[in-house]
């Protein structure tokens, strides 16, 4: 099993329209896979589908070798899940919650759970319903990690948390990943956080995955080129053009993908001055990829 999560041809209907259509997603074992996408693109729905919480309309899902949703309960025993919002029973105390949770997971590590509880400064007798957002976030991460999972599925785990709590939660996550062979799927719109932590990226838009590749390839391949003017002769470019925009004066601004440094020679041969090659950070790469994908589907429609 080379992929912790394998999704093919997934479709899901919410009401009349298809929230997810023909989704193909493969999360490699041991990777930290960043799931990026605008609001409403279907990230949370996809996560619920792969955890067996929703019935798919079509397609296949395999998680940790189990068919979902049929074998979901078997896969879930090895998965640590942090949902978007607090999902725990509000009238239980933290200690009661931990005890209840532990009884369902054979791999629960009691010592580690206690260590995390103290590290996160959570008191055992606090009621879950009275926790602040930060404390709730820490508790959910604690439960997900103490299960000793092979797969972590995190839906906006640090959204709305203050910087200190965010740091604590991420550190605990990464310390776990360092010492256990685990795969992590993080859905987040906090692009800068995804940038330092993820080594794979999947970009979702309109119910479909529009890009899926190793992080370094995504980032290094996408560049913004500042060009003196339109190329004199148009021999096919060795790179992919995501966008062409007017710049200052006669200049043009191209956003390209699959760029390599030796491709400057193409500009030399086409008699157009390449003024500048600008690296885009993850956020800009993500925005440009989305724009290009939307333009392409707009044109095709």
């Amino acid at each position: 099993m080379t992929h912790a999560i394998s999704i093919d041809g997934l479709a899901y209907r919410a009401g009349r329209h298809f929230a997810i259509r023909d989704l193909r997603m493969h999360v490699p074992n041991g990777s930290v896979y960043g799931f990026l996408g605008p609001n409403g693109s279907g990230k949370t729905t996809t996560i619920r589908l792969l955890l067996g919480m929703l019935p798919p309309a079509d397609g296949t899902i395999a998680v940790l070798g189990h068919d979902v949703p049929r074998g979901a309960h078997q896969a879930l025993a090895r998965i640590g899940y942090v949902p978007e919002r607090l999902h725990l029973y509000p009238m239980l105390t933290i200690e009661e919650t931990m005890r209840h949770h532990a009884s369902f997971y054979p791999r629960w590590d009691r010592a580690e759970a206690e260590r995390l509880r103290r590290a996160f400064e959570l008191r055992a007798e606090q009621r879950v319903g009275r926790l602040s957002k930060g404390e709730a976030g820490k508790l959910m991460m604690l439960l997900a990690l103490a299960v000793r999972p092979e797969l972590l599925v995190l839906d906006e785990p640090t959204d709305g948390l203050d910087p200190v709590v965010r740091r604590d939660v991420l550190s605990a996550l990464l310390e776990y990943v360092s010492t256990h062979s685990a795969t992590v799927l993080i859905s987040s719109h906090l692009v800068h956080e995804q940038e330092r932590v993820c080594d794979w990226i999947g970009v979702m838009d309109g119910g479909r995955l529009v890009a899926e590749m190793p992080m370094h390839a995504f980032r290094s391949g996408i560049k913004r080129l500042r060009i003196a003017g339109p190329p004199v002769h148009a021999s096919p470019a060795p790179f992919g053009i995501l966008a062409r925009r007017a710049g200052a004066g006669r200049e043009e601004e191209w956003v390209v993908r699959d760029w390599r440094d030796d491709m400057t020679s193409w500009f030399a041969s086409s008699d157009t001055a390449l003024r500048e090659v600008v690296d885009l950070d993850l956020e800009e790469s993500f925005v440009e990829t989305l724009r290009a994908a939307r333009d392409a589907s707009g044109r095709a429609a």
Binding site: M53, Y89, E96, H100, S103, Y105
Partner: protein, 218 residues
């Protein structure tokens, strides 16, 4: 898993269970206390009617307890969007069975309240040799009725909404058709009433609700 589910069920419902247990215990005593001063020389007939009053009160309490526990339990999950329950590594069937089972176990408490309250109440009265008190039988009826009410409400809450609506609609259509049939086609009446009798009297499924509930009887 089961122990923890029971613990959580208990924690959710303990306030209601405590309430119903106290009421179940007190009802026979209160009814007896209210009825006795007015009876003067208590005849057998009057004692039996007091016993029946206790029985009715107990039945109502038991059914309400069952409905409340099911509704409350479902309400907690509903408040957190069912996400937690769905994310646990158990099959849906097993999760529901554990829920229903442990909730039913907690309903033993009000039944015990009935038993003790009824025994104490019956002990206050001088029963003539022709009459006996049936505190134990009353308590077991209470337990069964609570379980039945709980099961119905539980099934209604946890079945997929569309299916529940369909079942309800079919039930209403079915009963209405039968009712109309007894008027329009008088010859079908005996068969229908016999089927109805089976359902609502012992040993039919709803028998416990429509049978004889009384503390004091011959």
């Amino acid at each position: 898993m089961l122990t923890q589910t029971l613990y959580v069920q208990w924690k959710w419902n303990r306030d209601f269970l405590a309430f119903y247990t106290v009421v179940a215990f007190a009802a026979p005593l209160v009814i007896l206390w209210v009825a006795l001063p007015h009876l003067g020389l208590t005849s057998a007939r009057e004692l039996v009617s007091v016993g029946e009053a206790v029985g009715t009160a107990t039945e109502v309490i038991a059914v309400l307890a069952g409905l409340t526990v099911a509704w409350q339990g479902y309400g907690v999950d509903e408040r957190v969007g069912h996400i937690y329950a769905l994310s646990l590594p158990v099959t849906r069937g097993r999760a529901l069975a554990m829920r229903a089972g442990t909730a039913s176990l907690t309903l033993a408490l009000p039944a015990v309240g009935v038993w003790i309250g009824a025994m104490v109440a019956a002990a206050q009265v001088q029963l003539p040799p022709s009459l006996h008190s049936y505190a134990g039988s009353l308590a077991s009826k209470a337990l069964l009725a609570a379980w039945l009410a709980h099961a119905c409400m539980f099934a209604l809450c946890y079945s997929a909404r569309r299916r529940a609506k369909v079942v309800l609609v079919l039930l209403i259509i079915g009963v209405s058709t039968l009712a109309v049939a007894t008027v329009v086609a008088p010859s079908s009446r005996p068969a229908i009433t016999r089927a109805g009798d089976f359902l609502i009297s012992n040993p039919g499924p709803f028998g416990v609700l429509f049978g004889r509930w009384t503390l004091i009887d011959v």
